[in-house]
Symmetry: D2
Subunit: 261 residues, 4 copies
């Protein structure tokens, strides 16, 4: 049925499965990770075919995940490349893409008392396969804050402060090794201060001091992310976005920018 | 089919439609409102009946909304009572409930420059019909902020500030007139300061001053909402909840309480 | 403060407000509409300026909305153009964008019994201002269904059916008049059958018959949307996406395509 | 500061942290699980105290999670009891509650071809500590489908089918051992058919056959969940809720019920 000619002859760019949640285990820098990512896997469809064989996409995911358990490959993009290669054997395509969105938990130390905390970040890894090879798009989402320099100036050192979210996206070749942990650092270092799950009073005093010593607009945070990423990663297309949940407004403010490195 | 005996004989408490979005027009204190609420309408189902007649629930909503356009009833709970009465004529029940969730837009003035702003609030009105008559549950959700008194004390007047959401729920008899606008005031007055969609520099200075002059934990805001509501509304069951989107943490902090008036 | 040189000199593409909810009233084909859209308004920021003046963006929205009440302009893109023109007077930019996302309620008749129902659609209108003038991106999201032709073939006329969502986006010049209602028709006509808020038994029989007479993969629906839009609208960039909430899987399936007309 | 008398003297029922995401590792029936749950931990606050010490709540979570890695306790409620006991040592309370929401991935076999699939379920475990001891509330959310018996009857065996979600909640004493896997079975067995991540053509034919042989309203599914749970679990308060994403409507239909066992 899928191989029949469709009534309307029009090629499609992305056909596949989305919102598929499954378990993915990797071994990355000698630490084991168990993720339950949300996966989207799509391929193009030529104009003469009515449909794709959806179950082959899911089988490619499942088989690679099982295999992965044994061979313990490393990064999420390595797992994804295995899936796209497996898919290629089962189902022809010109273009295919796979995205995994998941939580990444990283242990940290609080700034003064040195307590261990576990900090959780949303990350996404997308791998695209074209005639010319593999391209990846890595993305991290990091919680921080903004501290208004304008209000601080007008109100004798008092100001409004709020939670903000910084997002860094990097598009580059498959071979260009970029660690998600380093991308997260680029974003955290662009905020007035880092945030932590535990803060004892002495830690909290430090965080507040950093906020006031280092006031930043949402525009400043985005520029900081761009600069940090440009310094650290080469041969990349870099995109940054910061959203500040204003404490004096119902709405948010945003700043987006991009550059090449 | 719905009136057949079901294989498993077990009465059900709430059967109906949910997530139904439609238009509701009312005339409230000589101002016309057009809402597009999300509606849930349910009724109980006795153990000997396989199912309810879902289309009658939807017809009760639709007819009342059409009628409403003409007779221009006032509050959302009046519209809801019409719907439950219409439903009663079409489909027997012991207990039925209807909830409408919508946005309420209220014009305000900024605190210093007096500019007009439109402020938007999430509100919900639920009406329950039982043997004994009608009971309503009114709910408003208001954006504000918290300003940490503990950090202010430890950091010489500096502190962390963040957006917070205050929720006030009031359960009372249908006849007890309670205005959603007054409920919103109870919540807004419990925050360190109100928030506004527009703030010119002089307004922003005032808001920042109020924040620092009036630092509050999430617990303080919840207690303030309870006190304000207890003073203003009589013969009610009152519930308050505040969620503060901490600017120094990834997680939120909450405080919930309740009282009778 | 905003006009100072920033520490990091990097131009930004989109700086502004997001998630701002307010009331917008229009008069469109002699019918009055009251929307409470969610608005995003952004502009570019040159590398030598630390920040934009956020309150001027909000003022541009507020003033135009007030004015709108009086002059009763028509489409959402006309309201948006007024806002961007107002903004241009207050704050220089090279590029600015405004998006309004809202619900659109349209009265329909059920297919057999001819009952009036109110059907609700998510729509978005985005207007971009560049040196060369205005470009718009119109988007509608419509609920429908898919009916698997493969299973129908293998199971003697039985098959799995599920709710699906079709999205049509059209990018064109400001001057090219495209009605959101017509875009919605293009999507609804691509499904196996339309869906309705009320269905009496005779209506339901018709809808079920249409489903079985007209089985469609998610790929077929997307191709149908593309064809319908290509026929109806000229000088447009057209993009279609269908998501099917499979009744036999936990995950969804999708199909996306695009074309020019 | 937290121990000061508050301006408004009103006791609060639930004060604490919410939306905290961290890693929890357990060893359950000789299988290791790595969860990244979303955690809410609250306690009551007496009327004479201004606030609680939030960092002690987070420390109780963190320490137990670290300890957990070593001692490899079993169920999520065991981890939660450790956290509440740890909290009791640090911070006095009358009532405290902890909830963990996470994904649970379970391997299954497809019905005909016997392929291994990984199926993912949303689960939540809440533990409450009161004077009288511990009570738990277990919850599972399972994807399935509904198949309309009314339409099937009126349309000669044709009908509308759609994805549905079944939720089972069980409240019982801490000591009453209830496996989340068994709760999931109670819900899956109440649907017309189970759903699977992979389905080869022969599997899909079986699933479609089960759907048509076993048509069910949303009311039937809820009653089935209640019956299955009542048979399997004793001394429980049972609550079931099914939401059906109608393929012929924009809105959903629901059925809720409860019973004791």
């Amino acid at each position: 049925m899928q191989d029949k000619k469709p009534e309307i002859m029009e090629s499609l760019e992305r056909v596949g499965v989305t919102g598929l949640k499954t378990i993915v285990m990797t071994n990355w820098k000698n630490r084991k990770y168990n993720f339950v990512p949300e996966i989207e896997l799509t391929m193009d469809l030529e104009r003469e075919k009515k449909g794709i064989h959806m179950s082959r996409l899911v089988e490619s995911i499942t088989e690679c995940i099982e295999r992965e358990v044994e061979i313990r490959r490393g990064s999420l993009e390595e797992v994804e490349r295995n899936i796209l290669e497996k898919l290629k054997e089962r189902h022809p395509f010109n273009h295919a893409e796979i995205t995994m969105e998941t939580d990444l938990v990283i242990p940290r130390k609080t700034p003064v008392t040195g307590k261990t905390t576990m900090e959780t970040y949303s990350v996404a890894v997308k791998l695209s396969s074209d005639k010319g090879g593999y391209t990846k798009l890595l993305s991290v989402e990091v919680t921080g804050n903004t501290v208004c320099p304008h209000a601080m100036n007008k109100c004798n050192g008092r100001t409004h402060i709020q939670r903000a979210t910084g997002i860094l996206e990097i598009e580059t070749s498959y071979e260009n090794r970029i660690d998600l942990e380093d991308m997260i650092d680029c974003v955290e270092d662009a905020f007035p201060s880092r945030v932590y799950t535990i803060l004892k009073t002495e830690d909290e005093k430090r965080v507040v001091k950093e906020m006031y010593d280092n006031p930043k607009f949402v525009e400043d945070v985005t520029r900081g992310i761009l600069r940090n990423a440009k310094k650290r990663f080469k041969n990349c297309r870099i995109r940054a976005r910061t959203v500040s949940e204003e404490s004096i407004h119902r709405h948010d403010v945003i700043a987006e920018g991009s550059c090449m490195s």
